[in-house]
Symmetry: C2
Subunit: 201 residues, 2 copies
């Protein structure tokens, strides 16, 4: 509980709420990545994010409740608390998956299911010849241009979780991305240097 | 309970499991769409999908438990049940959101949060001049080419939820899609006929 003061929490209710939704979605992507690649480091990140999300949820509840002035306010604020609760449930589900990775008790079927879903997770290795190298994620806008959402990047022994738009892609980077199989294959060709131009160029 | 026999359930454990994951993800996208556009029909679809998912979950549990032959099997099968439980929790969260839409008790902040998330939901109207018209979703591959995931299509008074790859886009269709704001704006320009060529052509 004492640690809570150390965590930086956004200042207003809306920002806290948006941060909660983004964090929960990142947790789901990371949890599936952890399962797929049996990566305990990713699983541990999911559990850390779960703690952060609990802090956010607490702050959101306190501030929302304080802002109710009458019965009508209170009723509508309930929908905020309900959605926050739903987001929290999603994050708990992701954390449960992460714990299974740490306990090494995964049935192969769990992996297969992630691989065969409409949206799946893939690993993309960036070759030095790729046009991705040296560009920021903002400039590349991979999500619009390839349909792949960047979940994390492995650089040497380091993980960048939820890399921001100023992150530059480096040769040898391993990008963990979410998308359809077609989208992931397309990004792989760009990362290998087989496709040399991005659609928006 | 009797209704269960009428629902078509995939034949093997893996297919049931994949169907569960895809259904839960569709439910989340539809729940956010229902909130954003205050569409009760979409909210009702979410609740129907929840029932379907419960049937799938039941079949998965029965078949998984039957397949355990020894202690090691049983331990690993627990991870299947755990993941199925996580998926079910996610679907329950989506259903809770859908219920709020039906009860008309939404705080405006809930809408704002969906709009301001990294991935959001958008409505795209297809003009008769758009190059999308007359093509199948398979041929368009919007997910790879624009970064937008098609959640549902409104055609006149009818909704197509989770349209399949053979669905042809028609003039006047309203596409409900999930993606970043940039991706959704890009698809809007294609749908308006301002952008005339898809990147893969």
């Amino acid at each position: 509980m004492e640690e809570w003061d150390e965590v930086e929490v956004p200042d207003n209710v809306k920002e806290i709420f948006v941060d909660m939704k983004n964090t929960a979605e990142l947790m789901v992507d990371l949890a599936y990545s952890a399962v797929l690649f049996r990566e305990k480091e990713i699983a541990e990140e999911v559990l850390e994010l779960e703690e952060y999300l609990d802090v956010l949820n607490y702050h959101l509840m306190v501030r929302s409740v304080l802002s109710a002035r009458n019965l009508r306010d209170a009723e509508r604020i309930t929908s905020i608390l309900q959605m926050a609760h739903s987001i929290d449930e999603i994050s708990n589900a992701a954390a449960d998956l992460a714990k299974m990775v740490l306990e090494e008790k995964l049935h192969p079927l769990v992996t297969e299911v992630i691989l065969e879903s409409e949206e799946t997770i893939g690993k993309v290795v960036v070759s030095p010849e790729s046009m991705l190298v040296g560009k920021t994620l903002d400039a590349l806008d991979l999500s619009t241009n390839t349909g792949v959402w960047v979940v994390a990047i492995r650089r040497g022994k380091r993980w960048l979780f939820d890399p921001d738009e100023d992150t530059k892609v480096m040769p040898g980077d391993i990008i963990i991305g979410r998308g359809t199989r077609t989208a992931l294959d397309y990004l792989k060709e760009i990362a290998r240097g087989i496709i040399k131009v991005m659609p928006n160029e």
